[in-house]
Subunit: 230 residues, 4 copies
């Protein structure tokens, strides 16, 4: 699997030259679904078949098997199931819709991931810095992963990190993002779909990376001007 | 376990009259942690011991065992472990901090729950109403619960609901809330802790219940006045 | 001035055919600035000069004069000042940057407008529905427009609307949007700029228009499943 | 006028001792309206009359006259108008409701102020850091204050600040808040009123002041754990 964007595009075009009608190409680069739709149309003209496969799971997936969200037609998917069976965890692959839908569903997955992560991260801030100052975060996290409403893979990841350092002091307050959250937020606006927390989760990461925010300075500036606040 | 608030308060006072020094009271009403702190102080004066126990799990917890977050001192907790062992799921109880911390940690849990639910709900809106109109939501949900980053108890609940009705047409777009999300949002402000998505998730529920929003009408009114928009 | 989009594009191309090198075209359709940038490049090849002019003011502007934000080069702007002088209110036009900047600055203006409107609208909800139930909103609005920090054209519009109906009962809680808020939110994400309230103000309008929100139904569905909430 | 809180409370009690039935006390400390309601009840028992007066205007108000939002009964207000006439700008005072309403309306005013400021501040970030890098912010601000929909006192303040330094480089990205935004956000939740941007504007200031955010570090931590992101 390649990173989405130019690398995938050039490989896609190279590979396409080598294929004959009836051949199958599986595009698993977590591409923008608009690119996948375009590629599906492109290969269809040449009689080549294609599946787009959104892949989730990260490092854990590499060990325990991935989740694979596949877009395309049923016959092509059926033909390729041995491939997905080999890569995916148990129960972790399926055809989720027509061409493009694989990457679309993966994109939505990532947007939800951003929102859930933000919900969890804010919760830990309140655990650590509210009325109680010395709560045992690793213990709480382990408990939360047994029988609570919020038990989740992401809390398991939070627990792994807290086991290394209960105060996460080895980390900078600086959060990267991949493109998928932005694609999802853009798609939501294209279709006038309210998408508030998953969009904010993206903006929160932008905030984390802008250590000399003009917006914050402008807020301070306006306060200065009308209130003489130092 | 009783609902938090007046019912719990009156029972608490009744029970307190019957107890002798050294007795133990376990307050498991998912109370506001400020009430728990006050009750801990109250019983301490009388030499009575107390644990506050935040309980999560809902209907599933009733079958599979609850998660119980306990606040209090170590000896009292140790003495009561058989009780928690009987009620909790495997690994699903622990002492999370001093008196009051049980309900505090449960409160934060619920705030995270609100944020995660909002992240998931918005994602389904994008799945159903974006570029693709006929994605198979139950199938996608099952897949998402195998090997993805967002696999979680809440997605399992989403899957149960979608299995009953893939379009959720039997439900009204009207969402209740219990007090804990509000307590958490208030606590965050008291301590100047950014708490954006978990607070918004609460406000989203308020929006869902206000079908003749004055705010929306005021927006329409201002547009009318400056733009002549009908 | 034409509405942005296809109508403007076809007129632009028609007019372009009639122009000779050195002629000037003023594009005042509140177009997407990407379209303006493209048109500037297009006319430049033909030796034709162009200004893009973002126009604000609505119905009041039609009476009192518009505000006009102009993008282009200094000479062309200087040549056209009599035109802007005739249309704009006193002090209400200027060159704000190179080609495309006129519509860019207008786009940002509209995004701020959305955010300010949302701030005001929420405030009126709190005035009307909080602890006090019978506050005199028209009187308060008039007062707020004399000497307060929030005095503004938009509050003047709010006052006009409230003078017609203090409860705004003649309006539906349904808010339209033009494209500019969405363009601004998209541009912010392209440049990784946090743009939270101005983006939310757009999503709030989407929420106002979706009376059977799947997201809200999904929230209710998850609550049902884990809590048995009716 | 005193700062709200303990100082006002102790002065209030001192002054109260010196007053006789029929005397009037004007409480102008921008107090929490709950305190004002309590004080109104307190003085009423003693036959003393009271007005609560929320004051806006800051440094500019000190020169041009304040806006004063008064809560209390009509007769007491009528008796005190010469006082308000002397302090307020032209048109800048009125009775806005019963006892407590003065500070309530001032509190809502401040919440709107926070939201409007955030809308403006984000807009400037997009002006400065988007596709165009060298826009002349002071010029744009002056133009925006002539004839646009967003012309406002706050933009005038933004313009004053930008005239001192077009890049606001003399300011730290660190924004204080007074209590009123928090009181308003709390009041909104008490009454289940959606209050999204005005609440977020408060949280944004908290974010600006937390330079080693645990929430951001937790986001980075979870990314590390599931993705091996450095």
């Amino acid at each position: 699997m390649l990173p989405s964007g130019d690398v995938t595009e050039s490989h896609f075009l190279e590979v396409l030259d080598l294929l004959s009608p009836g051949d199958i190409i599986v595009e698993g680069a977590n591409s923008n679904f608009h690119d996948s739709l375009r590629r599906h149309a492109h290969v269809r003209e040449k009689g080549i078949r294609m599946l787009d496969a959104g892949v989730s799971g990260g490092l854990v997936g590499a060990e325990e098997g991935y989740a694979i969200m596949v877009g395309g037609d049923k016959d092509t998917f059926a033909f390729c199931t041995p491939l997905f069976e080999a890569l995916a965890c148990n129960g972790g692959y399926n055809l989720v819709g027509p061409g493009g839908a694989g990457h679309y569903v993966k994109m939505v997955h990532n947007a939800i991931e951003y929102g859930m992560m933000q919900a969890i991260a804010e919760g830990y801030d309140l655990l650590a810095n509210g009325t109680f100052k010395d709560l045992d975060l690793p213990t709480i996290t382990k408990l939360w992963n047994h029988g609570t409403i919020i038990q989740s893979f992401l809390l398991r990841m939070a627990g792994q990190a807290l086991d290394k350092s209960p105060s996460l002091e080895y980390l900078k307050p600086f959060v990267e993002d991949s493109g998928e959250g932005r694609w999802a937020a853009t798609e939501a606006m294209e279709h006038r779909i309210p998408f508030v927390v998953n969009t904010y989760a993206l903006h929160a990461r932008y905030i984390s990376r802008d250590k000399n925010s003009l917006a914050f300075r402008m807020l301070a500036a306006m306060r200065n001007e009308f209130g003489g606040h130092a």
